[in-house]
């Protein structure tokens, strides 16, 4: 009898351990958002392909464009402001922008646009269709048709990551396509973000004061240096906003 009780206790313990273990494993599979991701962005009409690498933690997001060696770092501060620093990786230099606190619906304020790559306005107003369900969350397609174009963004809610994005015209012709290529990159998020923090930065407000620094002189002489960076990301604002799902009704 005593042995049976002991055996029963052992079995119960093992069962509980198994359940707990399974629970932990599932929790592990579901734990947290993706911190790095790589996208291929294709614009067939321009026959242009760009790569965007995304690095993020809770309050910091970096959009890195390898082709042009430019990184846009967004920081969400305690006051809910989004602060942009634009890094020129080849130069190991950065330009700091003031956090914007009043420019509602204008870029640099919408944290979702930086973190998820899809603006809050888009996500709030798009029709939703669950494409897939698993233990950790859903894969949801968000869709909006505006100005004869249809925008469809697919988001894996478990990983809090955009997995695909397409813009098509009224005839169904593809205008732009984003593909999630990888969520594992050579550099992890913390290393990449820490590296940026070592680069020398200059307040944009100070650029006009100093015409002897070759880097800053280039900024002044060439105007907005952003124009020389990736083609897709630096078209006019309207197209850019569409490209990142920030269009509004």
């Amino acid at each position: 009898m005593k042995n049976k009780i002991v055996l029963s206790l052992i079995l119960t313990f093992l069962l509980l351990c198994t359940i707990a273990s399974k629970g932990l494993a599932e929790e592990s599979q579901c734990s947290g958002a993706v911190t790095v991701a790589s996208y291929k962005i294709y614009q067939p009409r321009l026959d242009k392909t760009e790569i965007l690498e995304l690095y993020r933690n809770k309050n910091t997001v970096a959009h890195y464009y390898p082709k042009n060696q430019i990184t846009e770092l967004y920081e969400l501060n305690k006051a809910g402001q989004v602060k942009l620093t634009k890094y020129f990786n080849d130069h190991k230099r950065g330009i700091e922008y003031q956090p914007n606190d009043k420019l509602n619906n204008i870029r640099n304020l919408d944290w979702a646009q930086k973190y998820k790559l899809m603006g809050k306005n888009f996500l709030d107003n798009a029709s939703q269709q669950i494409k897939q369900t698993n233990d950790c969350g859903d894969v949801i397609a968000y869709s909006i048709t505006q100005d004869h174009n249809t925008f469809v963004a697919t988001i894996d809610t478990a990983k809090d990551i955009l997995t695909a994005f397409e813009i098509t015209d009224e005839k169904g012709n593809l205008l732009e396509k984003w593909e999630l290529q990888s969520t594992e990159l050579a550099t992890d998020s913390s290393v990449f973000l820490s590296q940026l923090n070592t680069y020398q930065t200059t307040d944009y407000a100070d650029i006009g004061d100093d015409h002897t620094d070759p880097f800053l002189t280039k900024m002044v002489n060439l105007g907005f240096i952003e124009k020389s960076s990736s083609g897709f990301y630096h078209m006019d604002d309207k197209q850019q906003l569409h490209a990142v799902g920030e269009h509004s009704h």
Binding site: E75, K78, P99, K102, R107, N197, D209, F224
Partner: protein, 528 residues
């Protein structure tokens, strides 16, 4: 001074004759002319000026510097201030424009036709012109070459005031390590060496923030036998240059995830507190308000991670920060505890930034706040013992153009005399009175009050259709011709305004380094 009596009598006689003749002529002027308000007010001012100030020595000197506050900025700011007070505007005067003495100032640096703040402020503080981009050193410096600093350092009026036993203070709405305030206390081969992370690897030079915190020891080391007590009042922005690059040191209103920039793991605010245990370090409006000037011996206030806010945007600061007027008043209240007197430098640093961003509204509202700060200083000091100088370091490519009618909103579109509709140019489009020769160009950012918001957008230079845009809003940025990432300084003369003992020496068209000599003369800094 020898007086040639014969000449004196001859001139006096001539003067009396002219005076009599003038009086006779005045009596023959029509009454509608002599009773005209323009006529009488000018005549009254002339009578006031005849009451000449013959006092040359001052107990205190306050130097106000409007960074980038060129003459067109003064004109536009006085009109804006007047119109904000329901006047037509043009007849208004900023507080310091009522000063009895003024001069035009040539601003060029030794190696630059159009100057920067580092070279110009070094000239004003040390009595000699130097190169663009360097702080507290003469023209023999090689910019960016640490080794060339030794032997080329110059001594500033603030340092001389310290040695003389006066209390000293510096205030800036820019970073306190920025070029203008730095030229009062630092020696640097590059204005950008604000903290150690900005300097070349392996440098033996000391960064600007370090020089501020260790000002007292550094000055005593340079002058054998000198015992000074350090700068009593420091108010400004630029906390990042005093804190280690470590999130654990973030302040309550940090806007970056890691606020500090220092790579030597030093917390200079803590070091300052250790050096001056009786001093108060403050970083927000609450801390500032808690300072009791009567009992405070010294204070170190760093109110922002980088530059302080534009006056128009100050309410949006996370932790709150004082205005330039509040800082000036508090500083005078503390500094005047010293019976020997004081020297105070006050910089309105963001007039310059407003212009760089192409925002006349930002630049002009900060100019008006500078005027308020000067007014506070005038009210708090005795004009018989305090020399107040208000000047700029350089101008901007900022113009007041077209033929707008009297009282036309200075931020508005040009409406010609006799018309109610905006005038149009040869391209058929309306245009504003204010504009820039270069910069980012027109932007309509609505009620945005942070002038720097324009930097988030690509340049939009050239002529634009502004028919439907309200150009008087805080978020409107004026048109510009030449596309640049940031609007530039100008090379034209700026003005200097002075009142108090020694102010009468401010006249004519002077080199900028003359400012130091005006201060020196008034305070006897280099002579007994």
């Amino acid at each position: 001074m020898k007086i040639n009596v014969a000449k004196y009598v001859a001139w006096t006689g001539l003067a009396v004759a002219i005076s009599s003749a003038s009086s006779a002529l005045a009596n023959s002027l029509p009454e509608h002319q002599t009773s005209n308000a323009w006529y009488t007010s000018a005549n009254e001012l002339l009578m006031q000026k005849l009451d000449v100030n013959n006092s040359f020595k001052a107990k205190n000197v306050i130097l106000f510097v409007g960074d980038g506050m060129g003459i067109s900025t003064l004109t536009a700011a006085r009109i804006l201030e007047g119109q904000q007070q329901d006047m037509m505007g043009e007849e208004n005067l900023l507080s310091f424009e009522t000063f009895p003495y003024s001069a035009l100032v040539k601003t060029y640096n030794v190696d630059a036709q159009t100057p920067d703040s580092a070279g110009t402020m070094t000239a004003m503080m040390s009595g000699l012109k130097t190169d663009v981009g360097v702080i507290g050193v003469d023209e023999d410096i090689v910019r960016g070459d640490c080794a060339s600093v030794a032997g080329n350092e110059v001594t500033s009026a603030l340092e001389l005031a310290e040695i003389k036993g006066l209390s000293t203070g510096i205030i800036s709405t820019a970073r306190i390590t920025h070029a203008t305030p730095a030229a009062t206390y630092a020696k640097s081969a590059d204005r950008n060496w604000e903290d150690i992370s900005d300097m070349p690897e392996g440098t033996t030079c000391t960064d600007i923030a370090d020089q501020l915190v260790n000002f007292e020891a550094n000055l005593e080391a340079r002058f054998t036998g000198v015992d000074v007590d350090g700068i009593e009042v420091v108010f400004g922005g630029g906390r990042r240059h005093f804190l280690p690059r470590d999130e654990a040191f973030n302040s309550a209103d940090a806007v970056s995830s890691v606020e500090g920039d220092r790579t030597d793991n030093r917390d200079l605010t803590a070091e300052w507190q250790t050096t001056y245990p009786q001093g108060s370090y403050v970083m927000d409006q609450t801390g500032f308000d808690a300072i009791d000037p009567a009992s405070t011996e010294r204070v170190f206030g760093l109110f922002n991670e980088s530059h302080m806010q534009y006056e128009a945007d100050r309410a949006n600061d996370i932790a709150g920060e004082p205005s330039l007027t509040e800082m000036t008043s508090k500083a005078i209240d503390i500094l005047d505890n010293n019976e020997k007197g004081f020297f105070l430098m006050v910089e309105s640093g963001r007039i310059d930034h407003g212009h760089h961003a192409g925002s006349a509204y930002g630049a002009l509202t900060d100019t008006i706040e500078l005027s308020n700060a000067v007014r506070a200083a005038m009210e708090m000091t005795n004009p018989e013992e305090t020399l107040i100088i208000v000047t700029a370091d350089h101008g901007h490519v900022f113009t007041i153009a077209g033929y707008p009618k009297r009282g036309n909103p200075i931020l508005g579109k040009v409406v010609n005399v006799g018309s109610e509709e905006p005038a149009t140019a040869a391209d058929g489009l309306a245009y504003t009175t204010l504009g820039y020769t270069n910069g980012l160009g027109m932007m309509d950012l609505g009620d945005e009050t942070d002038a720097d918001a324009s930097y988030a957008f690509a340049p939009n230079t050239g002529r634009k259709d502004i028919t439907q845009i309200d150009t008087t809003t805080s978020g409107y940025h004026q048109e510009a011709l030449v596309p640049l990432g940031s609007e530039t300084h100008s090379g034209e003369d700026i003005s200097l305004h002075a009142m108090g003992p020694g102010a009468q020496l401010a006249q004519g068209n002077i080199e900028q380094n003359m400012v130091f000599h005006l201060i020196d003369q008034a305070l006897n800094l280099t002579s007994n």
